[in-house]
Assembly symmetry: none
DNA sequence: CATGAATGAGGGTTCATTCAT
DNA sequence: CATGAATGAACCCTCATTCAT
């Protein structure tokens, strides 16, 4: 029932290139593009400076290819969920779990993506992440469309894209809260916190909120 | 019915300091802290370089004081709403309108704040914005508590803080979408777009979604 | 018998100018001309910045007038000793005591002067301290000349200026050692150290060494 | 009989590092640490700015390593003299000659060292040159101890360290006088002056003065 | 593939000094 | 006399990048 965490065809790279990209993810996530220096990246990757320019043309390209790598990974995983033949609610759950899983596995990835999504555009190369993001939104919107067609879902609006945006947004809110909390949490308590905030109850709770809202107002 | 946009006690600064802070808001919002150079700021402010160091001790302090300035402004406006004696739903609407108004008046401010909230922490001075943000969340949570006590609100959960977080988060999602759209919209269409996305219907729609959710799932 | 420490006609200055000069002495002594900023001086003097430019034309002039002030003071005190009608040996003792007294009273003054005498010339305004210093050497040389004429002194050489240079130099060595030791000594032990290193025995010892040398070599 | 001027183990540096250090010696000697800018150093060394930071971490480290380099050189040469098996007086002569030789070879080195020794401490990085200097003093003191033990020397005091301090001090006085004179002497007369002031007679004269003092006082 | 060495441009910051009041 | 505000030039240092080997 849970989404598998198999990374889909992560395009095999030479070991050094892999190290560089790994370091780039961590550092771009923690410090952002502008505040991360090439020197830091190669140091973290334990690689000499010109190696970076050999495998990636420059800092900008490294950023783009790294981001592409991560986005494609997410895109494919979302696609798998959309196309899976499970019930509507299960798909929503699966989407939430996909992101929670990602948070548990490598928080840097999410931090990176959200920093790009919400951070200032001119602080980094002009990567059209909104476009990529919109793709994902469209994918998710398709879930709602199908669900309504199959009478599995009776939406309060017919703006499927708006719904998708808000659903993904709600997931993002949850993740950001988790990330920020993890940053200030002692190592010892991190795991328990993660287990709780990404557990089945939390998933269910989020889906419930999305479907039913906060409550009745008089 | 709408919240007034009166800026509360904007602490009078010398003209040049004002110019610097204004430029800082715009540039930090557009490019982030790390990618914005002091030289750019003083150029945008049409002020000589040492002036920045005369009024603010350094780039870091300028950032902190600027952010403080903006957060206090928001905090006070939210406080006014919380303490106002209007109906529950009206308070929610007022909160949404406050942010929409801010978007219309000076989008840079929101961009700035959200960049700090969601951007990588190490890309800027260590400002505890999460703490400030939590204050706001607590304020909003108080709204829910009071509403339930007054039987104006029948929540699906008793986690008021969670509700507040999600409500503010939903507003943020809406704002981010608006900001990103504005960035790519031609000047000519910007105003109409803004009017629509921040109009009364949009406010109502957002509050509705928050209270009632996406719809019924079978 | 000891030289009086009366400062001879210190040219009455307005209070603020006095404060500035005092701060300048301390700071130039501790950090040198180049490493001392005008801001530091006015801060130490608790005076506003333009005051310095009102009383002294600029940093350079402040330096020159300050140094002049100190040199003239020394020059006059040495002159008094040279012209006094005491025995040869007493004059030598008086010269040593004059410097030791100065060390006790205000070590900054000596530090200042020696820094200028021995420090790199281009690190400060082109003040001909060598010339001033030579004046003092000539004064002291006169002591030897008179002493020999009066058969009070039977020198091993007739290079009076060389003798004077070495005598003053030996005093300087002693002072430098004292200054450097004071720098690393805890406040509590400073006074006792000073008392001992500038006491009558020390004076006698130094004069003895100058006259008789280190000892006999076979 | 004269000490050889062979530079002992000058630790091989890359050519550019060597140029930088050479320029640093000249400039720090002439202008002091504070008044010497990094730009001047790299210009004098005919090297680009970042090169300095490549080989030395920063201006401060450059200063420390340069000073260390020079002090070690002196220390080793003094050690060679102390351990040599020549007569007491010859050792003293050798010490004088060592410094005179250094003055002839590269006056900047001595200027540098003396500026650090006597200049204001806070005008430069906190290098414990006094400690290094004390080492040298201790080395020289050992000469006196050995000479007395061998009945080659009958000192007027048993404060060997005091004697060493004064002996080195006297050499310093002589050198400072030479340096200051050279500064104002036309190029054409410099060499003759140097030859005279560092010639065998001068050496003998200085040693004589140290041992026998200025003369008899009645 | 891999490296040590090198560079032009620009980073944040502080300098001595002066203006208008 | 005295001040707060202002300035052009220079400070030390680091950036992303590339060269020759």
């Amino acid at each position: 029932m849970t989404t598998e965490s198999t990374i889909s065809t992560p395009e095999k790279l030479p070991q050094n290139a892999e190290r560089i990209m790994g370091a780039a993810i961590r550092l771009f996530a923690q410090k952002g593009y502008a505040a991360t220096s090439v020197r830091e990246i190669v140091q973290e990757a334990q690689v000499t400076n010109p190696m970076l320019y050999y495998y990636f043309d420059n800092k900008e390209t490294l950023f783009e290819r790294t981001l592409n790598h991560l986005m494609r990974y997410r895109h494919e995983n979302v696609a798998a969920i959309v196309q899976s033949s499970v019930a509507f609610r299960s798909k929503l759950r699966a989407l939430v779990e996909l992101h929670f899983e990602s948070l548990r596995e490598n928080p840097y990835i999410l931090q990176f993506i959200y920093a790009v999504l919400f951070g200032p555009r001119e602080s980094r190369p002009d990567y059209d992440i909104r476009c990529e993001h919109d793709d994902t939104v469209d994918q998710v919107a398709e879930i709602f469309r199908q669900a309504q067609a199959a009478s599995e879902f009776e939406p309060n609006t017919d703006d499927y894209k708006g719904l998708a945006d808000r659903f993904i947004g709600l997931i993002g809110i949850e993740l950001m809260r988790g990330l920020k909390t993890l940053e200030v949490l002692p190592e010892s308590e991190a795991e328990r916190y993660l287990d709780e905030m990404t557990g089945p109850d939390a998933v269910e709770n989020l889906v419930d909120f999305f479907l039913n809202g906060a409550g009745r107002a008089r």
